[in-house]
Point group: C2
Chain length 309, copies 2
C-alpha cells in the first residue's frame, strides 16, 4: 500500500520532492500558507529538467487542525527561520506512528522537533538541488536533485528505507546515510562559505568567488573551520572533502545561492542554521572560527536591515 503523506511548506523543495512521491503513487496532501488559494484551486506544476508534471494534492489545508488523515510521513520543507515555529505547524495531535521528515538546511534543525515530539521518529533529509518557486504553485527545477536521508540522530530505519525506495522509484537519486548529522556538517562545508559570501559580495556568483584570490582564501578558511568544528563535535570529515567541494564548485555553472535569492526578494535568510548555530557551538566548544564569526556578524545585520526588522 502506498503511503499517506502530508507536506508542510509548498516552496520549491517541498513541492518538488512531494510531487515525486506523488508520481511514485503516494497520497500527498499539503499544508499551505500564503499560497493556499492557488494550490487548492490549481494544484502544483513542476517544470523540471527531468520532465515537467502537474499534480493536485489529495487535500489542501491551511491549518493542521483541518487534517483528518493519519499520515505515514509528515514532510516539513519550510525554511528554518526564527519566525517559523515548526512544532506548532505540526500540531499536537500527531500519531506516534507518523515519521516527521525534515528536508531543511543547516545544523541541529532537528533538535526543536525532536524535543517537541519525543515519541515520533525524525527523519532528517538533505536536498542537493537547484530549484525555485517562480510563483505560487509553479516550481522550476533547474539542476541536480539528489537526497540524502537518515534517521535522526543516527541509523537507518524501515521508514527511511521505504522513503528511499519511493524516491528511487520516482527517479530521484536518494541515499540513506546512517550518520545524518555528520552528513549535515558535510553539506555545511559548501553552504557556510558560499551562501553568506554570495550576499556579502553584493551578489557574487560562485564563479566570481572561486576566481578571486582573496575571496577563495576566505572560502577555504571557512571550509577548514567547518571541518575542525565538526571534528570537535565528534563528526569526523576528511580534509579531502574540502578539495572535492572546491573542485566541484569550480566546474559548476555560475549559480545563485538560495541566500542570495532570499536577500534579493527581501525575504529573511537562513542565517541561524547556516552560521549562527555553528558559531554558538564553536564558542561552547572553545573552537576558534574567526572567519565564520565575521561572516555571521555581517550577515545577521544585513539580514535585519534587509527585512526591515
Amino acid at each position: 500500500m502506498k503511503p499517506e503523506i502530508l507536506l508542510i511548506g509548498t516552496g520549491a523543495i517541498g513541492s518538488f520532492y512531494a510531487g515525486k512521491l506523488w508520481q511514485a503513487g503516494a497520497q500527498v496532501s499539503t499544508l499551505c500558507r500564503s499560497d493556499y488559494e492557488q494550490v487548492r484551486n490549481k494544484g502544483i506544476t513542476i517544470k523540471s529538467i527531468d520532465g515537467d508534471f502537474h499534480f493536485h494534492p489529495h487535500s489542501v489545508i491551511r491549518n493542521i487542525s483541518e487534517y483528518s488523515g493519519r499520515p505515514d510521513f509528515i514532510i516539513v520543507a519550510t525554511k528554518v527561520l526564527p519566525g517559523i515555529d515548526i512544532p506548532s505547524l505540526i500540531g499536537r495531535n500527531i500519531d506516534p506512528s507518523t515519521s516527521i521528515v525534515l528536508i531543511q538546511n543547516g545544523i541541529d534543525v532537528e533538535k526543536p522537533v525532536a524535543v517537541a515530539f519525543p515519541e515520533n521518529e525524525i527523519i532528517s533529509a538533505l536536498a542537493f538541488i537547484c530549484a525555485s518557486r517562480e510563483e505560487y504553485g509553479l516550481i522550476n527545477h533547474q539542476d541536480f536533485g539528489r537526497l540524502v536521508i537518515g534517521r535522526y540522530p543516527s541509523g537507518i530505519s524501515g521508514k527511511v528505507r521505504i522513503l528511499r525506495d519511493l524516491f528511487t522509484e520516482a527517479g530521484v537519486k536518494c541515499d540513506a546515510d546512517d550518520d545524518i548529522r555528520t552528513a549535515r556538517w558535510k553539506k555545511l562545508i559548501w553552504n557556510a562559505p558560499f551562501n553568506p559570501m554570495s550576499v556579502l559580495t553584493g551578489g557574487g556568483s560562485t564563479y566570481e568567488m572561486m576566481n578571486s584570490e582573496s575571496t577563495l582564501k576566505v572560502v577555504r578558511e571557512v571550509m577548514s573551520e567547518v571541518v575542525r568544528l565538526a571534528g570537535a563535535l565528534g563528526h569526523h570529515i576528511p580534509e579531502t572533502f574540502i578539495t572535492k567541494n572546491l573542485e566541484d564548485t569550480a566546474v559548476m555553472k555560475p549559480y545563485k545561492t538560495s541566500m542570495l535569492l532570499d536577500y534579493e526578494r527581501k525575504q529573511p535568510m537562513e542565517v541561524e542554521p547556516i552560521l549562527g548555530t555553528p558559531v554558538r557551538l564553536a564558542r561552547e566548544k572553545g573552537v576558534d572560527v574567526p572567519h565564520m564569526e565575521t561572516l555571521y556578524g555581517l550577515l545577521s545585520l544585513i539580514d535585519r536591515k534587509n527585512t526591515g526588522r
Copy 2:
C-alpha cells in the same frame, strides 16, 4: 613670508585644508582633474561648521608641467587607489627643497612617494574630519577637522612646525607627532573595522554596528588584530586605545563612512591602504588576522563588481 603651496587633489579633504592655509595667508595653487573648469572659473566654496568661506586659487592647473612656481609644500590629498599614480602627478621637476605632504588614509601610503622622491622631505598627515564634496568646487565640512602631522618615517622637522603653526593660525587643531607611522596604525583601529563593515552590512551606520552584538564582536576582533599587527611591526599601541575608540564611536552621531560614500557613488574604495596592505604585512610577519582577511576578501570582490572592473 607666507609659504607657496600646490594642492594636488581638490576633493573635500584637500580643498578644506588648503583653503584653511589660504585663510592663514598662504599662496595656494591647485592641480585639478575632472573639476578643472569649475575650479578655474569659480574657485572653491567651503561650507563649514566653523564658518563658510570662498577662495580662488592663485593658479589652477591641469598638469604639473603647467606649474611655474617652486612650492614650499606640495599637498597630495587624492584617494589612495591603484589607478592614481601619485609620483607621476607630482612630476619629475620637483625642487629638493619642496616638502611633499600626504593627507591620506591607510598604511604605508608614503612608501611609493618616498621611493620616487628620495631627496624630498615627506610629511605624513592624518585628517580626522567629516567632509564631502557636494559638487565640483563645493565642499561641505560637517564635523571634526583635527590634523596629526609628522615627518616620515619619524620626527618633527622645521617644515612640520611651520605647517602646524599655519593650521593653528587658521583655527585648525593640528598636532605634530614624532611617530606618524604609529599614528597611522592608531587611526586604522577605527578605519579597518568600520569602513569595510559599513559597506559589507549593506550601508550599516556606526550606530547599527555598535548596537548589534554579532557585529560589535567583529569590530572588537578587527581592532585587536590591528593592535597585534602594529605591535609585531614595532608600533606599540596600548589596548586602552580600543576601549577609547569604542567609547567615542558609541557617542558619535550615526555617520556614513567614506568607503560607504564611495561605494554608493560607484567610486573605487580605498581597499588596499585600509585592508590590503595590512593583510599583506600580516602574512609577511606571520601574524594571524582572520577577521581582517575575511573583510578584505569580501570587500575586494565587492569593489571590483561595484566599479565594473
